[in-house]
Amino acid sequence: MNDKISNIINKIYKISAALPQINIMEVCGTHTMAIVKNCLRQILPSKINLISGPGCPVCVTSNSDIDNIIELSEERKNYIFSFGDMLKVPGSKTSLYEKRSEGANIKLCYSPADALDFAVNNPEINVIFIAIGFETTAPLTAVLIKRAFQNNIGNFFIYNIHKLVPPAIQFLLDSESKNNIHAFLCPGHVCAVTGSIPFDFIARNYRKPCVISGFSPEDILESIYMILKQIVMDKPSAEIQYKWVVKEKGNQYALKCINEVFETGRSYWRGIGVIENSGLILKNEFKNFDAKKWFKIKDKNIPEPKLCICGDIMQGKKKPFECLLFGKKCTPDKPVGPCMVSSEGTCAAYFKYEINKT
């Protein structure tokens, strides 16, 4: 352990000595991974309780959306472009991964720009990009929609499931009963785009500390120390720890792109339900890029898997070990719920790194 890290840990032990139990929610899936991978929960004083939030985009995608994308993939002329994590998510009957092994045209992409390039080079086929992610990824989609619009590309579509982080945090704070979150570790790269201002309400309206953190163990520990300092001084604010990347006003140009292409609307979060104004919906002038509308896909009413408690886990009410399926019927090889599917899902992270530590 390097000196800087042990120094921060000492400071955390010292400052937390007089404090009661503090529940800190890390909103971002990459933070969850960094915490479990580096054993931070074990290193910290037991009164610092780190709980994982709804910050893994794959995990909050409804199985109805997965079924809709699978339906789109059944048309031979359609090519689905997806980030890797989406493929294993179980819909009600099958997954995109299984569909691909049966011969459906499902391609993995590193950059969404690959999907648009493919559409331009293959005008006879329909390219559908699964536009998933929070504010970090939404401007990428916005740029591509603008580019496709300007160049009159008629065979490029998105299956749009972009979501926004601050409305989900507000939803958790408003519905807070059993989870009792005292502070938030906020997502560094979402804030690289949004800046810290959209997170100010957490401190201003709810008097909860919130620190925008980087992704190294040192960053996370320092952010936790900053949170504890705010608690001790009773001065909650939206502070930036990840200063070399996050500016108070974010990336104004990226935000402008999002606002040109999208407007906010309601969105369904798997395991949580509908959250008003938490979704990004394509504006009317761009509606022809909306795969769901263009191909007239209708939502099916599909229940969540029985016994799965992913919803409670994503709201910080329960931990994976409290689930009857965890590690038994639900494993990364055969996931039942969404939190086990994505490598950044809370259950997958706990399965990989924490199962032998309890």
Binding site: D114, L140, G188, H189
Partner: protein, 69 residues
Amino acid sequence: MCVAVPAKIITISDNSAQIESMGVGKKIDISLVPEVCAGDYVIVHAGFAIQIVDSEEAQKILELFENYE
């Protein structure tokens, strides 16, 4: 997945740039950072630069990664 490794902009051509990070070269899209210049450091997400970052700190972090065995 958020990858917090900075990359240096080497050359720019329209919407795209050649970057270098820890000895690896790659072409990325720079549409979201219109003011970026060669020599700047950026954070890349899914093939797009999403923010220009503090050069000094970026160099320190890259050095740390390079010395990490």
